[in-house]
């Protein structure tokens, strides 16, 4: 779980984010943006170490 926990979490969140926006407008779009922002946050949060 230490190994695959994050990859699974990120994939599930991305897929939910992709599906939310097709379900409807308004709140659905907003939730989709929140969900899809999480993997982007993770990329920045850890990717920043590359420049350290």
């Amino acid at each position: 779980m230490k190994l695959w926990g994050m990859p699974i979490l990120l994939s599930v969140i991305t897929i939910i984010g992709l599906l939310l926006a097709i379900m409807g407008l308004g709140i659905w779009h907003l939730l989709s943006w929140v969900f899809l922002s999480y993997p982007v946050y993770v990329m920045i949060r850890y990717g920043i170490n590359y420049f350290r």
């Binding site: 190994l3 994050m6 990859p7 990120l10 989709s32 943006w33 993997p39 990329m43 170490n49």
Partner: protein, 399 residues
Amino acid sequence: MINQVGMKAKTIKKWFEVHKWTSLICTVFLLMLCLTGLPLIFYEEIDHLLGKELEMPAAAPGSKPLSKDVVLEAGVSTLPVKAVKYVSWDVKEHPGQMFVVVADSAEAPIEADHYLTMNEYSGKVMDTPPNEMDFMLVMYYLHVEMLAGLPGKLFLGFMGFLFFVAIVSGVVLYGPIMKRFDFGMIRTEKSSRLKWLDLHNLLGIVTLAWASVVGLTGVINTLVDPALERWKASQLAEMVAGYKDQPRVTGTLSSLDAAVKRAKAAAPEMEVSFVAYPGTVYSSKYHYAVYLIGNTPLTSRIIKPALIDAKTGELTDMRDLPWYLKTIFISQPFHFGDYGGMPMKVLWAIFDLATIMVLISGIYLWIARRKSKSAQLKRIIETSESLTLSTVGDDAAEK
């Protein structure tokens, strides 16, 4: 025990080879796809910036759009060519506008098409967009078919498939590489190759789901031409079977306005997306093909054609598309990223850039690895538990 471990080292090596070769073959094309795809995410916005967006004069309050026949005739009369091919609408983005494609004949090739944008309230021509390649169209055709028609399209589909295999094999390799490390670690103190490997792994695993979805839906999209051919030969042919021996419809056609109304009456919850005229590739020789779409984000991707007899104006048949065309149309938004407003487009662009980084770091790792051959593989195997360098050596010796 040693034997088991040996199997594992062999398995890792196999997956490594799969990852290396599928990536090597598809990376250049994937880079092209990511780069051309980037501006395509913002197609509408860029068109707007380039001044292509038309100002729609406000219609007088209470005024109604003119009959579609009147608007169409007003447009066609301004051109020397007389055969209408397609008429389309975009109720959400461009209400009150009617987009017309005309040519010398319904069978004329795309290159000979003329475009008209009509104001449905005044019946005036708003614009006559030239039928020529501009920057965005070049990006589009590079992305879709490398300017090489159907073979180019199918080739890119195959590259997309290899990309997906590369993703899967990459995930398999992620296991043994990351086994002893925390998620997201980047070893900056070590060699720059390790640093790049860690970045490759981080961005690769974070974009895993997005790249898989966009990759696979892209592959599905490359099959649209054969799918349409199959549909025309089977379902469409069945729908017009009663007209088989009739000559192509000639003379004055029945009313477009009535055809649209007739189709809408048969599917009241849907909107008309476009009408294909008799003789065009999207219709029969005797019918208006009225293509209806739903009005929610999901159902607007599901197209339903109604065939209207272009002489009598009667509804001949209306059917749902077969599953394979439905699959293609429903998969499209998940490739385009155009269904969640501007924030989604920005997120799409970030994922696209991250994928570019995965591709570039992958190429770098391949070049760097060639310099210190097989060191990387050894390390992957080393990292996987209860393995020593000597067993890898034995393993190699066995071969």
